[in-house]
Symmetry: C2
Subunit: 264 residues, 2 copies
Amino acid sequence: MQTATPTPATTAAPIRFFERAQRAVGDESAATRALCSTCHLKDLCLPCGLNGVDLERLDGLKFARRRVKEGQALYHEGDRFQFIYAVRSGTFKSTLNLRDGREQVTGFQMAGELLGLDGLAAGKHASSAVALEDAEICAIPYAHLSELAATSAELQHVISRLMSREIVREHSLMMLLGSMNAEERLAAFLLNISQRMKARGYSASEFHLRMSRAEIGSYLGMKLETVSRTFSAFAQQRLLEVDKKHVRITDLPGLQRAFDLRVQ
Amino acid sequence: MQTATPTPATTAAPIRFFERAQRAVGDESAATRALCSTCHLKDLCLPCGLNGVDLERLDGLKFARRRVKEGQALYHEGDRFQFIYAVRSGTFKSTLNLRDGREQVTGFQMAGELLGLDGLAAGKHASSAVALEDAEICAIPYAHLSELAATSAELQHVISRLMSREIVREHSLMMLLGSMNAEERLAAFLLNISQRMKARGYSASEFHLRMSRAEIGSYLGMKLETVSRTFSAFAQQRLLEVDKKHVRITDLPGLQRAFDLRVQ
DNA sequence: CGTGGATTTGAGCGTAATCAACGCAGGTGG
DNA sequence: CCACCTGCGTTGATTACGCTCAAATCCACG
């Protein structure tokens, strides 16, 4: 399990050096010149809420697209903060390193979601981001983005809103970790994934989890065995069918009942 | 205990109506015309990192100071987002309401810290803020602040950094809730309070907690009895002396050892 | 085909939750 | 002034949920 071993196996993959080099010089050299206004994710991602002049202005943003292989890190805890990353495809996990070598997962990011906002605070990334499957991202130079934001109050507002959304998201996670039991946590997690899949045009009731039981457990504050057991319990209650990473929710209202015993 | 009863006893205090009225009209009418550049909190608060022209520009910001009595809410979950609040004196708690009437504490705010940033995401506050003692705040109209930010990249950057700091703060709290036991949690909490007291010119080793055992427990994801027991355990280990809300840390390194068993 | 990683399941245990009782301080009213 | 009440904190006894340790299975991959 990658979380126990101190080797950089999954967090850096075989081609770590190449990846680092790519990060350093590849930013301007991408063949694809990407435009936000024509991106199929524009309603989920950075441009969300913008239109007309402001959206066009966003096209002035120069950024590179980059592929990230499964297991590769987009950035590591402590790396200098330079880019905001937008996920184009694939799934990422954000993690903090614990002193004892274990990792704490602080979030999962899907297409259209932003990564790296935690780096603003201190100019260094406070967490690491690792691809859970082959992925593609846009690397947006923060300096450039904030220049652009200075010319558009709307864009500025959008960025602030996205950061605020992150704060709110973490609030609910705190609620989850602070006051829910294992079943409620996993139900909340699955319902959240379900919603996000739906928002991306995928089925809300049937999907592949990209993360391992251990990663789900770390995120939800429980051990992998408990995650597995809770999946089995849900299956036995006929709330869902589960086969490893494949999940089919068969009783959405039931799952919601399991969840909102507590939550507003 | 206020968290169990559905009555608005502590969260709204006897003069709730007055407070609401005050909030609606009192914003412009404050006698004190406050300036950030001369505020004794300028190194902790919004102006942190600004100087020269940018700091002067911040003085263009029109905002009201307001007193908030113990138990009064600055805003409630669901209230329209209009202001960012800066704590001038006193302590606040931020809370989410759970469906069953209980509350989840998501943070404690002291002098120089900002409140209300979670409201940007949806234009409505996602949490409530309640004074734990008589307090004074600056209510900064967000619309006005963002206007001003449009004229200064530096100010813009400061605001983003403050939001990012909030995200990072919540990351560590997630780590705490996700992977620490009762002793580690309380130790982390006390060390954090200690640091923040120190940064405000108070003693780092001796202070009054403004929050109840139940509120600490809610924040740390444990029951009030466990908080109490853990305090007693620390006292027995001669790490600190405790008498109700008064705490004196007698072995700071020892407390840190109790804490950083896990954390980086 | 063998190996290693991921998942599931079981058994026993430990930590923190629950339930309960008590002490103390502050406020209220007779 | 004292009896009473209420809120908060502490402590004890018991319980339960999730953790730990362990073993078996499944699957991908070399």
